[in-house]
Amino acid sequence: MTEPGHIDQQDGRLAIAGDWTLVHYSTLKRQVERLAGSREPSHQGIDLERLDALDTAGAVLLMELVGPAALAAIDDWASDLPATRRALLRTLGEAMADNQPPTARPARPLRDTLARTGQMVEELWQQQRQLLGFIGQVLATLAATAWRPGRWRITSVVAQLHQTGLNALPIVALLTFLVGAVVAFLGATVLRDFGATIYTVNLVAFAFLREFGVLLAAILLAGRTASAFTAQLGAMKANEELDAVRTLGLDPIELLVLPRVLAMMLTLPILTFVGMLSGILGGALVCLLALDISTAQFLAILERDIAVQHFLVGIGKAPVFAFLVAVIGCLEGFKVSGSAQSVGEHTTSSVVQSIFVVILLDAIAALFCMEMGW
């Protein structure tokens, strides 16, 4: 009953015997392949009398032995097989009779490598073009809706504000506080040699007002929110929801992208401000505990040495960064194709791109401000 499947060769005839099932697939496959080398697939000389159990995996192996056409005509040469079993074999033979296996492209390592490199360069270029195009589209939509308050989507802007802004506040505050303390420690260590530890205050204030407040907040939003935008819009794209939006006569940019972009542009300046404050707070705490600079003294130095323009330089960058991070997040979401893997790839790409853009722009801005003497 439970004899493993095998093929007996006697007087030039092949007797199919035992259980031809998935469990015995590997051993059967080897026997079938050995025979396939020496004979053309045909039903000549094949006996099925001693066949016990048979499932579709076994039937497929039989098909390799006799060929699909012979299997489809099983009624002609194995009529003593039970009708149900013949039906299975016939169905299988018929299904495979005119079934062409997919043609695999031959591999050409050198050409493929070159092609891939070219493709990547091309994609990089296309990506920038697409980004510029998308920015244009968003700005045009913004301009078109700006004059029509009836089309402002206040509710969804507020919902986005809640998610991207309010929920991110604690982590931004904590992060900048810690970095503020670290910068103060660094300053204290280096400046001690010059007997100028008092300038730690200036260091912290300069760093946070001009650079770190906005940079840390923007990087955090790039990781936290750009990825969320991509995943949300990507899942919608994969589920054809974006197509549904279009066929309903709505503009996905107006409906989905603008609220996100606007919410980010409101959020990031606020988060930047919070980041500046808590970074300076972290610095002040270190000054108080490690350098014996009292809070009153700290504030006095701030008031005397730090002009408001440093704050303006810092906070002025926030809306620009916010716009780019949001636009990149949304665009990558739109680029998702049907698969779950593609959602993952584009989410990664959106975070990497937005962090890169933020740092690049910040460097350019720093250079520009230095030259301008701001």
Binding site: K29, L54, T56, T91, N99
Partner: protein
């Protein structure tokens, strides 16, 4: 052609007793009873939202019921260890209502996955076998290396069927397999299920709205309504049951047409 294997003397393969399912305040099932006998094709019908898919999900163990007992192959899935459960689940094949193909795998990889993981086949063997299963489900050969996103709705259904059949499961759960298939494909599907059942002795839990499938393929029909199974019996008995919904279902214009198509002479 239809084998009357459904005899109540045999022990059921699946036994549902006193099942209760609810989502929050919304009660989907209450005190539901159902049996699936070995080797039978049980059609499950009911209006949209009556809980057919939820019933299927609770039987295969994806949903823990509020109350009641579900025995599969004589054992309670929820009380088994993870290992024993996985062994049992290998004997299931499930086709989900929306296909649920793995979107990052090609079709042949989708079907080959259980063959590699559970049957321990080499990848090349598993993919060759997968291509045959795809052909059995009615897909052309070149579809095997496509990805789910590149397929039509009906092709996704077919590929999902091929994956459900990958391990030649003893119990096959199909959630609206013919929805979205062309009528020729749907008829071929009915024949395929019957052929497989006859040759391999599968038991099939078949959720469907397709009256033709009901008439050509099913041994028994269970009607889900008002949170329980109203009747589960041979089609003629079910059709004669005194219930407004059942009457409208089987004796509406579509029901009559399907019946005529199935038994041309018996039509009154």
């Amino acid at each position: 052609m239809r084998a009357a294997q459904a005899s109540t003397s045999e022990a059921p393969l699946i036994r549902v007793r006193g099942l209760e399912n609810r989502f929050g305040q919304h009660v989907v099932h209450e005190d539901l009873e159902l049996d699936l006998y070995p080797g039978e094709i049980l059609g499950v019908v009911g209006g949209s939202g009556t809980g057919k898919s939820v019933l299927l999900r609770s039987i295969v163990g994806l949903l823990r019921p509020r109350a009641g007992r579900i025995e599969v192959f004589g054992e309670d899935l929820q009380s088994l260890s993870a290992d024993a459960r996985s062994r049992l689940e290998r004997r299931f094949g499930v086709l989900f209502q929306r296909g649920a193909l793995f979107t990052s795998l090609s079709l042949q990889e989708n079907v080959a996955l259980p063959l590699i993981e559970h049957a321990g086949l080499a990848r090349a063997d598993a993919e060759a076998l997968a291509r045959v299963k795809l052909a059995l489900a009615g897909l052309p050969g070149e579809a095997a290396i496509k990805y789910p996103a590149e397929l039509s709705g009906g092709m996704i259904k077919r590929a999902a069927l091929a994956r459900a059949l990958a391990l030649d499961p003893e119990a096959l759960f199909l959630d609206e397999p013919t929805a979205g298939l062309d009528p020729i494909g749907a008829a071929a599907f009915d024949r395929l299920i019957l052929t497989l059942r006859d040759a391999l002795g599968l038991s099939v839990f078949l959720v469907t709205h397709d009256l033709d499938t009901l008439y050509t393929a099913c041994d028994r029909v269970a009607v889900l309504s008002r949170k329980r199974v109203l009747v589960a019996d041979r089609l003629d008995v079910v059709a004669a049951t005194d219930d407004d919904w059942i009457h409208d279902y089987f004796h509406g214009p579509r029901g009559r047409a399907a019946q005529r198509a199935a038994n041309p002479v018996e039509d009154p």
